[in-house]
């Protein structure tokens, strides 16, 4: 019986340790930034303007650096189709035009894994990335979109 109780207690402890993963729908995509970026909430329109390169600075004059997963990643699909309502080709053409019009210094940076995205967020102040909600580490700040976090009813990025 003692062994049984130990196992139960251990299971509870391990579940708490694993609690760094927020309770979120697996298909929800979280918008993440560094913890010290003074941004907690964005409206859906503000997020779209960031992705369109129309908003290039955070309010603190820190430049926005967009990190977007490479093609075929679920996070990229959500960004391009749900937020921008574009196809992959339209998205590429849009950003080529944006840079060509001298309206932006560079197109979004392509990241090939979420681990690279996390590393770059920690190294580039002002960077913003999109990561599947269950994979977000507590070291990053999850930005609310229209006041909602991943997993909450009505969260728009999924």
């Amino acid at each position: 019986m003692n062994r049984f109780k130990s196992i139960v207690i251990l299971a509870v402890v391990l579940s708490e340790l694993a609690g760094a993963v927020p309770a979120a729908n697996a298909s929800d995509v979280a918008v993440v930034v560094r913890r010290d970026l003074p941004v907690d909430n964005l409206t859906f329109s503000e997020l779209r303007n960031i992705l369109l390169g129309d908003r290039q600075f955070w309010s603190s004059n820190v430049r926005v650096t967009l990190l977007i997963r490479a093609p075929l990643a679920h996070e990229r699909d959500v960004v391009i189709k749900n937020i921008l309502q574009m196809t992959e080709s339209q998205f590429r053409q849009y950003w080529i035009g944006k840079v060509f019009r001298a309206e932006s210094l560079a197109s979004p940076k392509t990241v090939y894994t979420n681990e690279i995205a996390v590393s770059l967020i920690n190294n580039i102040p002002g960077s913003i990335a999109f990561i599947e909600a269950p994979l977000v580490h507590k070291e990053l700040k999850v930005v609310r979109i229209d006041g909602l976090l991943p997993g909450e009813k009505g969260y728009p990025l999924n």
Binding site: F4, R63, L67, R101
Partner: protein
């Protein structure tokens, strides 16, 4: 409560229930096995999470105002040299075939423009962009008469200081922001839906000054979801050849100035509408003119549909001959396209009607022709970076002149 905690509590309740009542030893053993399996799964998950933790410590944000060139280099390592700013090079090109029934014209291929676009970040807030074109011309080569060759031109050269989204200051040679098309598509034929630009903003045309040499202040603000954008500029305006900007200096002591404003409302994603005003004093043909250009545009820049409409009025006052009447010339175009939802969305039919009216009293614009014409075509996107366009044009310069029909094919691309 977290799901894993729920699972564990559920298991605990199950376990207590089992142990307190009539469960036999065999079922307890099964339960223990299940719990052990679950513990192993949780241990594995924790190990995965630990492995995915970033190792480098974060630099305090307060110490850094913007991403450094070095940090950007981590993302895009190509093109950086020790102690020098990065330089990104891109380009556009197009090849054309055209045939018209205009007397004296010849059908044939045309090389179009070869465009190089250079972009360099001099610091986190200072950037440079340049656009150089090589245009095939029948008279650009050497010899007498001049042989065919390429005409090289610095189309745009802009150094910009971006303080924030609300305030950016720049100096250089621009495409004059008094016309949507002129600042949306520049020399990249691939960027525009059609083969040709509207004639009111044709390169080498005179109706609207395509280039502007001077300084611009620009910015944007949210404005409660309206997303208000502005450009305010001062520069040399038109040169003595009015299709050219004042690249080597102004030919008058009066600077040209311009104001351009537009909004992109959040609630109507894809809509842009705005207007511009431009004022200059122009000396050409031994006469001085005061020029006022006012224009407006409305654009729905999604591709289902794409709608672009622009109108401009150019007002000329002859300052040399005060008795000469003030002349107003007008031009507009409306273009509509639609990216078909079938066949991987590669096809986009389009249509444009354009109109230009220049009264005879507008002596500064003489001998510019009037125009009423239609353009209809189909754009086929060969890939994300190349397109093939087929275009039919029907144009008439004056009521007493015949319609001119033309067929054009263009392949355009970016690299």
């Amino acid at each position: 409560m977290r799901p894993l905690s729920l699972v564990c509590l559920f298991m605990l309740a199950q376990a207590l229930n089992v142990s307190g009542e009539t469960q036999n030893a065999a079922s307890q053993t099964e339960l223990i096995q299940a719990l052990m399996t679950r513990v192993e799964q949780l241990e594995k998950r924790i190990a995965e999470l630990e492995a995915s933790k970033p190792t480098p410590p974060a630099t305090p944000l307060a110490n850094i105002q913007a991403p450094s060139v070095e940090s950007m280099q981590m993302v895009s390592p190509a093109g950086q040299s020790e102690g020098r700013p990065n330089l990104n090079l891109a380009g556009f090109g197009d090849f054309n075939f055209g045939a018209t029934d205009q007397p004296g014209s010849h059908s044939g291929f045309n090389e179009g423009q070869f465009i190089l676009h250079l972009n360099s970040n001099l610091s986190p807030k200072v950037s440079f962009m340049g656009e150089v074109s090589f245009t095939a011309r029948a008279d650009a080569g050497i010899g007498s008469p001049a042989a065919a060759g390429f005409n090289a031109e610095v189309e745009r050269s802009i150094v910009r200081f971006a303080h924030n989204d609300h305030l950016k200051v720049s100096f250089g040679r621009y495409h004059t922001p008094v016309n949507y098309w002129n600042t949306a598509f520049h020399h990249g034929q691939w960027l525009q839906t059609t083969v040709s630009r509207p004639e009111m903003i044709q390169f080498g045309g005179r109706f609207i000054p395509v280039h502007f040499v001077g300084a611009l202040v620009e910015g944007a603000t949210g404005a409660n979801g309206l997303n208000f954008n502005y450009n305010v500029g001062v520069g040399n305006g038109r040169g003595s050849v009015i299709s050219r900007g004042g690249d080597a200096g102004d030919n008058t002591n009066g600077r040209a100035w311009l104001v351009n404003m537009f909004v992109r409302p959040d609630k109507l994603y894809g809509l842009q509408m705005g207007g511009s005003a431009y004022r200059d004093t122009v000396t050409t043909g031994g006469r001085d003119y005061r020029e006022w250009i006012t224009s407006t545009h409305i654009v729905w820049n999604r591709e289902n549909p794409e709608i672009i409409g622009e109108f401009a009025n150019v007002r000329h006052q002859n300052l040399t001959n005060a008795a000469a009447p003030i002349a107003n010339s007008q031009a507009y175009y409306v273009q509509a396209g639609y990216r078909l939802p079938v066949l991987n969305k590669q096809f986009k039919p389009y249509y444009r009607f354009e109109y230009i009216h220049v009264p005879r009293s507008d002596t500064m614009f003489q001998p510019m022709s009037n125009l009423a014409g239609s353009v209809a075509g189909l754009r086929y996107d060969l890939s994300s970076f190349a397109a093939l366009k087929f275009e039919y044009r029907n144009q008439r310069r004056a009521k007493d002149q015949p319609h001119i029909n033309g067929a054009f094919v263009q392949t355009s691309f970016t690299f």
